[in-house]
Symmetry: none
Subunit: 406 residues, 2 copies
């Protein structure tokens, strides 16, 4: 047998004033039927109370230890955007932002969610002179990556992105006392200054200003990390898998582990994503692989926007398509439904509360849980798992696990 | 107080088409009464999803870490068969098998479950010339052990036993790049070849052929391991224990940890084993020791044979004898009932699903569980434990645990 892990991003939540979480408020007849046929529980994706990022959450769910195996957001997001990295490269995630040149304060952290192609800006930024080799990559919309190459560099540096409006761009600082971190911070601050000059004078920004659009006249950086190889999933677990996700960060984690990242037309990462398309491609991918992890991002987006009703509706929309998977899980595959972390709509950010999980398939000892939710699943026979338990459990239920001992 | 751990081997299972596991289908009035008087839960013997062997399972239940403390099936099974080993000895479990001399294919992996004594075959095999010292030991029926002695050897070698019929004996390979592993593989392959010649020409096999019995004309090897001492149980936990088991592998684990292995007349390891005899000897053993682990193997045998009804009947047979223990557990001892792993009858092999557990005794906080089964126990107040938790829990409930701290 083979298996599918379906991650609805940021799925877990907390009760509202009416004592309902979005999952509890949503109409989900199909997923509730799966809970009744399956075995259910809750899961601390990293460990109790720890607030996972999307990257550390997926690492953990895929059986890796985020405390030793996480290389940082910068390099993972770069990998997810198909930027090739070499051992030791320092990568940072960047945003084009709009800065008020008089006050030096950030007016828009995403430069009006500027649309590409932005090859001209990329080229101009790559013309900057720095004391090390580097490449700047525009990826999509306001997003990009800066990659520093060379020796005597360190990823132990802070973000320049203050993560709020009306603040100035932060000076990047060394996070340890090393010469390498101090030197890297200095280089990145130089890049930030030179980028402002290059961008301010760029014709594309002149044009944007004339059209009343916020100029992309500053670069914010965050998530510095040094790229390094880790043990590939296939070597660690002896099985081959793929990943279907729209988010660069999740795709980057999958690439780092050596999973095949499958592109699905119409998989947008937002509420209009082609859910059925993702499910169909996942099933197709199992023809030549042992498992597929599918990530549906939009549930998390609604949480970050504080939109309870939007999250409820999105959960219902996924429920309508789920039978593509659930009818096959009854006999031919093992299917896990879970969230990668809790993102309470009231909190608008990732929280460390456990996520609900249901596992369905012909080998499970189904339990008495009647519907899928944070609190109903907590009564199930899986009890309280860790993210790291998931791959071994799925391999065991699929008959793919090796015996340990004699 | 003292305690008993009763392991019914391969007890855990998965539901059949009628949604019943063998435990759920069996009539077990006495064990159900124990669940009502006890505290119940489920246990990941190693960790969730990991498929334990009988050896790694018992190591874990006895409070050891199988990832660091497991020396391999070969040396443990040799210890269990009373073969003395020295630090660094390489031991492999062997089978007498029947090989078709024309095609070199295995006709019977157990040479018709040949009965001993086979001193003549043992002697002939020990006459083989190899570049290292070795001893071949016949143990019982088709089973034996080969022990290589000397320096510059390694246990990182593959099995020659292909674990299936109609295949040829596998060439043993080095499992790492070391010179020692390559040399050991070469020696073992030489032994395999020479053993075939010695056995083919042996009068005992001529006689077997004349009698229409499959000759023991080949040796299959598996589970290579290097013997080393580990911290004895008594030193690790400060208490003294014994083990009652028929299986050489389980006896070997117990010996390795320094437990007293107690032989019980009529304890056969099959369905006709003297259950009451084992229980009586266990109680007797507590007169001079703090605990006893009893293993009843037959439940696992029925699972390996895919025999649902046989497993159900065996569970019922144990239930009829259990009062020997349970009536004492109500006041004088703490008793744990569990499986060492799940062996689903449909899967015919060990699986990584948790096992049910009940702990009974005057010190337990009894819960609301009404009967003993995989799913009923999952609702108990022990929740979901790990195998490694068991010894500390039993020592605590028996009043044998040291205070940690002030």
């Amino acid at each position: 047998m083979k298996f599918i892990i379906l991650v609805r991003d940021g799925l877990g939540d907390r009760p509202n004033a009416k004592n309902k979480t979005p999952l509890e408020a949503a109409k989900t007849p199909n997923i509730d039927a799966m809970a009744r046929e399956g075995i259910n529980g809750i899961m601390d994706v990293i460990s109790p109370g720890i607030r996972p990022g999307s990257d550390t959450a997926h690492l953990s769910i895929l059986g890796y230890n985020p405390y030793t195996d996480y290389i940082g957001r910068g390099p993972l997001e770069a990998l997810g955007a198909d930027i090739a990295l070499k051992e030791g490269d320092i990568a940072l995630r960047t945003n084009f932002a709009t800065i008020d040149n008089r006050t030096n304060r950030i007016i828009d952290r995403r430069a009006g969610r500027i649309k590409g192609p932005l090859k001209e800006l990329e080229k101009a930024l790559n013309g900057i002179k720095l004391p090390v080799d580097f490449t700047f990559h525009h990826t999509i919309d306001h997003r990009g990556a800066l990659v520093l190459k060379g020796k005597n560099l360190s990823a132990k540096v802070s973000d320049s992105d203050p993560h709020e409006l009306d603040a100035q761009i932060n000076k990047i600082r060394a996070l340890d006392g090393s010469k390498e971190a101090k030197e890297t911070a200095k280089i990145l601050n130089t890049f930030t200054e030179k980028a402002r000059k290059v961008l301010r004078e760029h014709p594309l920004n002149e044009k944007r200003k004339k059209q009343g659009e916020p100029p992309a006249n500053g670069i914010l950086m965050r998530g510095a990390g040094a790229y390094r190889e880790i043990m590939p999933f296939e070597k660690k677990f002896g099985i081959r898998g793929s990943c279907i996700a729209a988010t660069a960060l999740v795709k980057g984690v999958a690439k780092h582990l050596g999973l095949d990242v499958i592109s699905v037309p119409g998989a947008t990462g937002d509420e209009n994503t082609d859910i059925k398309g993702k499910f169909d491609f996942a099933l197709k991918s199992l023809e030549t692989r042992d498992f597929c992890l599918i990530n549906i991002k939009a549930t998390d987006n609604f949480s970050h926007d504080g939109d309870f009703d939007g999250k409820v509706e999105m959960i219902g929309r996924i429920d309508k398509q789920i039978q593509t998977l659930s009818k096959i899980a009854k006999k031919d595959i093992v299917l896990a439904l879970l969230g990668d972390h809790t993102t309470p709509v009231d909190y608008k950010n990732h929280a460390g509360d456990p996520v609900p999980i249901c596992i369905l398939g012909p080998t499970v000892r189904k339990d008495e849980v009647k519907n899928f939710g944070e609190r109903s699943c907590a009564n199930g026979n899986l009890h309280r798992l860790r993210g790291n338990d998931l791959v071994p459990i799925m391999m065991n239920l699929s008959g793919l696990a090796e015996l340990f001992g004699g």
